[in-house]
């Protein structure tokens, strides 16, 4: 049911070019800062630079990948009563996945 991700090598290479530049730029600007602020600044700068140049790719990388978490493609009903009505009308049993956090369609 759960599948391992596959990353297309082309996407990784495109990000790589920007990633190197972003971290390099951050280190120069942060050099004069106190240690904690320097680290935060470094973090902000690499991420900001990456998002400026490759927003679409990063958004796509974070979102579900093809073949990942395939159970989410199931047209789940979220009302047990509605599911009962459908099961009765269609002559089918129910597969119920219940959890306190809204699993499997929400934070697990």
């Amino acid at each position: 049911m759960l599948t391992r991700l596959r990353i297309e090598s082309t996407v990784v290479l495109m990000i790589a070019a920007i990633g190197v530049g972003a971290w390099g730029a951050g280190s120069t600007a942060a050099r004069a800062q106190p240690p904690e602020k320097k680290q935060a600044l470094l973090a902000g700068m690499w991420a900001s630079a990456l998002l400026t140049e490759r927003f679409d790719e990063i958004q796509k990388l974070i979102m579900p990948q093809p073949g990942e978490s395939r159970w989410r493609h199931i047209p789940w009903q979220t009302s047990l009563w509605k599911a009962r009505q459908m099961a009765a009308a269609e002559g089918k049993p129910m597969f119920i996945w219940s959890g306190s956090g809204g699993a499997p369609c929400a934070p697990t």
Binding site: L5, I7, I15, I62, W76, R84, A88, I96, W97, G102
Partner: protein, 336 residues
């Protein structure tokens, strides 16, 4: 909420003994009349579990299995105090995905795998193949903006280059409910006051602005830029945490925010609401150190518009909320 729901749906759930506990839930097979099929499973199930339930189902008489053989009437009055809320009228729904990331060998970013990136979970992940992989996959959530809130994002007289603060109510909610760096590992509630809805000091700093990139008679293109510092300050020289308390005290997330929003002036709706938070997480909040990664590690959150048409797209923020939870979500202290 089924375990406390005082209406016909709650009574049916408890009487039929479906699996009701646990944040990641459990699986039950059931007939429409409430009879259990096969076995119940904590967490997910396998093909064998489904086959067994279907075998049980096939043994039922046709009077139970034929379409329309069982009649299920209306649910009746809903227990409004305990029921899961529906999106308020005019609400804008954003689909949110969070994901652990990692730098790759060329300083770019990649997705993670348990065995490669999380040393603390290698043993349980090896012992129980397939049980934990979803933690390194995209973790879904939903953010709700009331009609008044999303309309507040639309400038009345937009001119190219105009810049204005991202509204505090939306931003504070985003920080305390939807940018939780621990959410991928199943910690759905507060993280013991470090980050989350109850963490009044969990937002160390936040700043974001919307800029009008293009305003015309047909619409407004906005960009969002900003940052958030959540949780505790990172101490790069600290020794690796050895206990849950130490792991918690090390938790934090520092991220940049970028977004692109498009408002259709004719239809008076947002047609695009794409936002990404990307930055470093440190520490790991939870009952164990399974997902602890030494040092600072990239974590991202992506937001996009949801149609809200499918039932699963109308689940409340963090997956489960009553009306009182929603009232708190909308009127979160610190959002002014």
């Amino acid at each position: 909420m089924l375990n406390v729901l005082e209406d016909e749906e709650g009574k049916f759930a408890r009487a039929s003994r479906i699996y009701l506990t646990g944040s990641s839930g459990g699986v039950t097979f059931l007939t429409a009349s409430g009879k259990l099929l096969g076995k119940k499973f904590g967490h997910g199930t396998t093909g064998a579990g489904i086959t067994e339930a279907l075998k049980d189902w096939s043994k039922f008489p046709e009077s139970e299995r034929m379409p329309g053989a069982i009649q299920v009437g209306d649910r009746g009055p809903i227990d409004a105090k305990h029921a899961t809320v529906q999106p308020p009228e005019g609400c804008l729904i954003l689909k949110v995905f969070g994901r652990y990331l990692a730098p790759d060998s060329k300083n770019a970013l990649r997705t993670t795998t348990l065995l490669k990136d999380f040393p603390g979970i290698v043993n349980p992940a090896t012992r129980y193949p397939g049980q934990f992989e979803y933690n390194s996959e995209a973790n879904p959530d939903f953010m709700w903006l009331t009609e008044a809130e999303w309309k507040s994002l639309v400038p009345a007289s937009p001119r190219n280059g105009d810049k204005f603060p991202f509204p505090a109510a939306i931003f504070e909610r985003m920080c305390r409910y939807h940018l939780l760096p621990n959410s991928m590992t199943g910690r759905t509630g507060d993280v013991w006051g470090v980050v989350g809805p109850n963490a009044t000091h969990g937002v160390r700093a936040r700043e974001a602005y919307l800029t009008v990139e293009k305003a015309s008679a047909t619409g407004i293109h906005l960009t969002l830029q900003g940052f958030v510092y959540l949780g505790n300050v990172h101490d790069a020289d600290a020794a690796p945490p050895k206990s849950q308390k130490e792991v918690l005290s090390a938790l934090g997330y520092e991220a940049s925010l970028h977004g692109r929003l498009i408002y259709d002036s004719a239809q008076k709706v947002f047609t695009h609401f794409d936002m990404v938070a990307l930055g470093d997480m440190y520490g790991e909040a939870g009952e164990s150190t399974w997902f602890y990664r030494p040092g600072r590690n990239p974590v991202g959150f992506a937001f996009e518009l949801s149609s809200g048409f499918a039932p699963a797209d109308r689940l409340p923020p963090r997956g489960n909320m009553t009306q009182s939870d929603l009232d708190r979500y909308i009127g979160l202290p610190g959002s002014k």
